[in-house]
Symmetry: C2
Subunit: 160 residues, 2 copies
């Protein structure tokens, strides 16, 4: 993360109420779909939502226990895999971190704008698909999933 400029307070984490609401929504939706929103999955999603920015898996592991006890790695990685599969979280490959999905739409190919200075990320709806789809068609590839991540500076860090 920060290498050149100081850390700023960007968007910041959502309020506790926001987190609760999002958790409730997710729980209700997945339960309705016949999925099991277990304690571990809810806890990991809660941590991601509360952070409001990408979080490293081992940070989730460290923060997992409400009593300060860390989780075992597979506990968190399994929850992340589930959340990702269900579109509630995304892995950001270029920084090996995970973030709650901020888009309401299910089954989307997300793209991210990532500030290398303060760590803020913005999830933007696949405005990229067009160009990539065109290239894929030209090459004869059938795309299953995409990783689109742009690194740079957020408005706040640019202003600083």
């Amino acid at each position: 993360m920060g290498e050149a400029c100081h850390h700023h307070h960007h968007d910041g984490p959502p309020t506790a109420a926001d987190v609760e609401r999002a958790l409730g929504d997710a729980d209700a939706r997945l339960t309705a779909e016949g999925e099991r929103m277990t304690a571990a999955r809810l806890r990991v999603l809660e941590l991601l939502l509360a952070a409001g920015e990408p979080v490293k898996a081992y940070d989730l592991i460290a923060r997992f226990g409400t009593d300060g006890q860390p989780a075992k790695p597979p506990t968190v990685y399994r929850a992340l895999e589930f959340l990702e599969r269900k579109g509630l979280a995304h892995r950001i490959a270029s920084i090996s971190a995970y973030v709650a999905c901020s888009s309401g739409t299910i089954d989307h190919s997300a793209a991210f704008l990532i500030c290398d200075c303060c760590g803020a990320t913005e999830e933007v709806a696949a405005p990229v698909a067009e160009g990539l789809d065109r290239a894929a068609r030209a090459a004869g590839y059938a795309i299953v999933r995409t990783t689109v991540e742009a690194h740079g500076r957020c408005p706040a860090c640019l202003a600083a």
Copy 2:
């Protein structure tokens, strides 16, 4: 890599002559730029070129010595960092692998089509930048570098 279909021979590696020529070109170009194309850097580039597809860092480490002796990790990671900085190689974050740059143009933002079946990759010139740039402008971000990787099936694996 392969999970569903068998491994096919896709494009395959280039001929030894192709590799030699590309190595010579890279050497000449960087030397002209005042960079030092050292043995380790040339060797890693040679391995990447010869593979003709993404290679894991520890595979490069294992293949490094012509006598079968592996390299020490930093040797290869340093060479990769240099090659990437100079536009001769790319890291593919979604699979933690490295590939020789197949584009002639310097200083480009590459995008990749990656076959999850046979491992073939196609480097396509940033046809993606448009959409992403637009989104970044809208969000006020200044983009420095991008990671664009599409996973799916290549034509050969689709046909199989």
